[in-house]
Symmetry: C2
Subunit: 230 residues, 2 copies
Amino acid sequence: MLSTIIPLHGTLYFEQTMKKNVSIEKRKTFRHGDLRNALVTAGLEMARAGGPNAVILREATRQAGVSPNAAYRHFAGQAELLDAVRSACLSRVAASIEDEMKKHKAGRDPQAFARKSLRAVGMGYLGFAVREPGMFRTAFSVPPPVHSPDPANTASMGLNPFQLLSLALDRMLDSGLLGKKDRQDAEYLAWSTVHGLALLALEGPLHKMPREMVLALGERLVVMVERGLG
Amino acid sequence: MLSTIIPLHGTLYFEQTMKKNVSIEKRKTFRHGDLRNALVTAGLEMARAGGPNAVILREATRQAGVSPNAAYRHFAGQAELLDAVRSACLSRVAASIEDEMKKHKAGRDPQAFARKSLRAVGMGYLGFAVREPGMFRTAFSVPPPVHSPDPANTASMGLNPFQLLSLALDRMLDSGLLGKKDRQDAEYLAWSTVHGLALLALEGPLHKMPREMVLALGERLVVMVERGLG
DNA sequence: CTATGAAGTAAACATCGTCCACATAATCTA
DNA sequence: TAGATTATGTGGACGATGTTTACTTCATAG
């Protein structure tokens, strides 16, 4: 029967987006198979290119080769899609920090290791911000409470950026670089500095500052934190 | 003639927004008289309530009792309106900093004065962020380059937030608290810290942190900057 | 084999920003 | 003072977005 191949009602969303959109495989099955993922992936690409405001629900469905409303089978609305995209962005941030941390192994000098760890967190964070501005801005755009152990936010080590920072600060404490009192809530102090620089440079008044200078400032910033915390 | 009171074509935009919108004076004159200002004011109120994304051009015209397109006689588009609103927000920030700075007069101890100035800048900044989250987020949402001596951005002293910070840092330098080398670009370092805390607390993962704690962290942060810069 | 429910589709609505053509009135000039 | 000019608003339209409601398709469980 023809109706099994060419549906009576559904036109399977072909022609209308034949401008120059890539990657629209004319799906032949009625079911997409992996739509939720496809939407998040599309959204992630939009976030990469234009930040949180650029993740458009309809556009995501378009890229997935699906009707706009199909999205509503997987997300309650645009906000929820954005949430999923944000989670994806967050784990990229975590991955970047991990990469930076892995560059230094624990040696004989625990204090040196602790310092390197803290720097790695800061620079991994800033590095990602500079490398992937859109994703970074998306990751921290709208409030997902910090104490959510959402596994989607974590990279290979299973820690989110905040937890990675805590780890580095604990090393400072353990190696005697930080007093117990100063360790208290130090996450927020350290985090604020790099986050602030990142946003000032990405979507703030320092917008036109060249990346190298941002990173150079970042180095000074981390040193400042190191000295200032103690 | 009636046509001078009741225009042939124009209905003067009455009834359609009779939901519960306040402050729509049924203007009787064809000219509004001060539309540009009215639009900015309306936009500012929206920014206050919902941040940059909430400043809607059409809504502004509605509140001004005017047709949507009337806005285009004063702004090239929504972006330009937002720009004007942002400028207004920026000068509020500056005003808040000034208020904080004025609390301390220069006394016999220049170093103490310098410290107090730096703290005042930081806490004035953070205080405004906590008090007026929407305006704060709007002020620093999209990139107006930092070195714009736009008089609209300045408060009574004629300095924008960045310049006020520079002033405080100069006092640190002059009083010997800061070396010439460390003074270099210290604005960016100090700014990053408070800006970061503000954004983490407003639209970031620290969203639910109570305001008092944010300000308490702010105090520690400023101390950290003071120690870390030197 | 069928019925049930998950996944997609279609068509519509409201809202937004923006463009075009036109109307109105304040002001400038003759 | 009359007439032309020009700044300021209006109306209507277009395309895009998010979202709702009712319908269709089809995989699979019993």
